[in-house]
Point group: C2
DNA sequence: CATAATGGATAGCACTACTATCGAAGTCAA
DNA sequence: TTGACTTCGATAGTAGTGCTATCCATTATG
């Protein structure tokens, strides 16, 4: 198909497709002449992933890195997540102390060297944000966070498809990024449900 | 204290403080003359919250709404979360079918009318993003999401402090927003830990 | 009284995610 | 073959966001 058909089928303006091509998010079509190229279903599928990523709040630059991880998966399975996570974590400038974060994530089964520094730094920064605002997670709530998050992660990793490397890569890379909005959205609903259960007189 | 002292103590440039004043995120100081005002610890504390919110990825506009919720809490406790959530949810333009989302959140204990439409729409949009990308949460993983998220929400709501209305408001409003980055960061660590447990030969 | 700080207003800047326009080259129906 | 239409590639422009810089009249302050 030509670019205009790709545009209408994906619901993405031609100018925007060109933009994604320029940015390297979308692979080029097959050139049939100096001013013509044809696109196929891989482009359509890719466009859908791009839009899902960007629609999930992932920036164009981050999306590019996530897609690069999809295209060039590392040989070792356990490096996949690192790549996916690195893609969406902002570059760290300015050191931050991860000691408290390390102590916390031991409750997740973490031991030194078990994960990238970048994700650990992410925990440290989140803790810093809370502290800065003068907000403290109650002592009885934090263990619930740790246990629940651990259960989530274990189920996710247990669910990694093994029928093909490609399916595994897709699952890990997209899952770690695209599921985030779902979990946050579910938490908001669950909070309101729990609040209703606690504070609203039964009717 | 004067604005320059507030600036150095909070680590926020004077120009930025003026910007927050203009945007209504920070309340005005007490005017002592036509060109002078004094600020106190409430301003310092507020600035820290503002920075924590903005540093957590909340936009200036959203932060303004979160802070407004802090300042003018609704009379009924169960409306608090709705306000906090509404503050960080983007305005919906374009209808979306929430039927599938509703079916899903029944697993959280949700029943019709138990929460704002906006948060339900958030679930629907998250699901739409996943579907668009051709990503499906495995059937055995979704129940874990629901159970874990429900446990989290219940612990959080059970932890609402009751010693003062102000403490409760702070906890609910800031907690629902500022804890998000922590949960996502913890999930990334937990995923890498689970991945290491599954894919890395024990050493 | 000279220097510095402040408030208030306005303008500018860097970045992001597009969007619009243009000219040369190519396609396709009549 | 003609002529409208499409495409490519490049370049430039736009809207929104989160500051940042400058200016000026008006106060403090040493």
């Amino acid at each position: 198909m030509r670019i205009s058909e790709l545009s209408t089928r994906a619901g993405v303006p031609v100018a925007t497709i060109k933009f994604y091509l320029r940015e390297g998010l979308l692979h080029e079509g097959v050139r049939t002449s100096a001013t013509q190229a044809t696109y196929d279903d891989t482009h359509l599928q890719r466009l859908r992933i791009i839009r899902a990523l960007i629609g999930s709040g992932v920036s164009v630059a981050e999306s590019g890195r996530v897609l690069a991880a999809l295209d060039d998966p590392p040989a070792e399975a356990h490096r996949l997540l690192g790549m996916a996570h690195a893609a969406v974590l902002p570059n760290v400038d300015g050191e931050i102390d991860t000691a408290e974060a390390e102590r916390l994530v031991e409750g997740l089964g973490w031991r030194p060297g078990m994960c990238d520094d970048a994700v650990l730094t992410g925990v440290a920064r989140a803790l810093q944000g809370l502290e800065q605002a003068g907000f403290a997670v109650p002592a009885e709530v934090m263990p619930v966070y740790l246990d629940s998050i651990r259960a989530i992660a274990r189920a996710e990793i247990a669910g990694v498809p093994t029928e093909s490397a490609e399916a595994a890569v897709r699952y890990v890379v997209l899952g770690s990024v695209l599921v985030e909005p779902l979990l946050l959205a579910l938490r908001r609903v669950a909070e309101q449900v729990a609040s209703a259960e606690r504070f609203v007189a039964s009717d």
